[in-house]
Amino acid sequence: MSLESALIHSKSGMLAQSARINAVASNIASANAESSNIGGAYKAKKVIFSNVLDRESGMSVLKVVDVKKSQAQHQVRFDPGHPMANEDGYVFGSNVSVIEEMTDMMSATKSYETNVLVAGQVKQMLTKTLQMGK
């Protein structure tokens, strides 16, 4: 049924966007994490989603396919007195850009809300259909 598949689409949209919001929250929380080596420094998470064929419903549905780590440059600071400094006196920060994360958050929230709106309208249509002939 088409209306049910509309609901499946908006559900998949909501799931993908909430995964994105989740990644943003984790990135912002760890924006100020520091480490003594570049490998241990926090790398921003980026959610990758794309359309995947869902065998159960036989339609192509939006799914989170991967969570990748950002390849942006880390903040490196010279601070020999810092407890996390390495032998050369450097501290490695995260590679999170808070501005980028905030705009990502706004975009994800807006898309999530739009999907909720669609689900609400489809629900209304289904309810009306169920009351047909009454």
């Binding site: 088409s2 209306l3 609901l7 908006s10 966007q17 359309n51 975009s107 309208q121 249509m125 009306k128």
Partner: protein, 122 residues
């Protein structure tokens, strides 16, 4: 009796299908490279006679209905990542599809009520 409700029976299905396509567009508003689709009513009407359905020889196969009418939208302003969904436009289309669906439903309701009245005879 199969066609006793006229065009509204198939109109209902058609608008439901369009709603599903618009829902998919909105869900993929941020998917890189996604191309927005829509139903072309004219070609649906024309293609009704020439519908191709692939047969399934195994339960693992996925049935494919090459129903005409689903087409890619010509975008006004595609984004850099190749996505052609215009969310505001899709919202308007969603509203339109919803209204048309409700209208067909209203007509069907009227037809059913009329018939019930005839059956009951009051």
């Amino acid at each position: 009796m199969a066609d006793s409700f006229g065009i509204h029976e198939s109109a209902l299905l058609l608008h439901a299908k369009r709603t599903s396509i618009i829902a998919a567009n909105i869900a993929n508003a941020d998917t890189p490279g996604y191309k927005a689709q829509d139903l072309d009513f004219k070609s649906v009407l024309k293609g009704k006679a020439t519908q191709v359905v692939l047969s399934k020889s195994s339960s693992g196969h996925i049935g494919l209905k090459a129903s005409g009418g689903v087409k890619y939208i010509n975008p006004y302003a595609p984004s850099l990542d190749g996505n052609t969904v215009d969310v505001e436009q899709e919202k308007m289309k969603m509203m339109e599809a919803n209204q048309r669906y409700s209208a067909s439903l209203e007509f069907l309701n009227g037809a059913i009520k009329g018939r019930l009245q005839v059956i009951k005879g009051d």
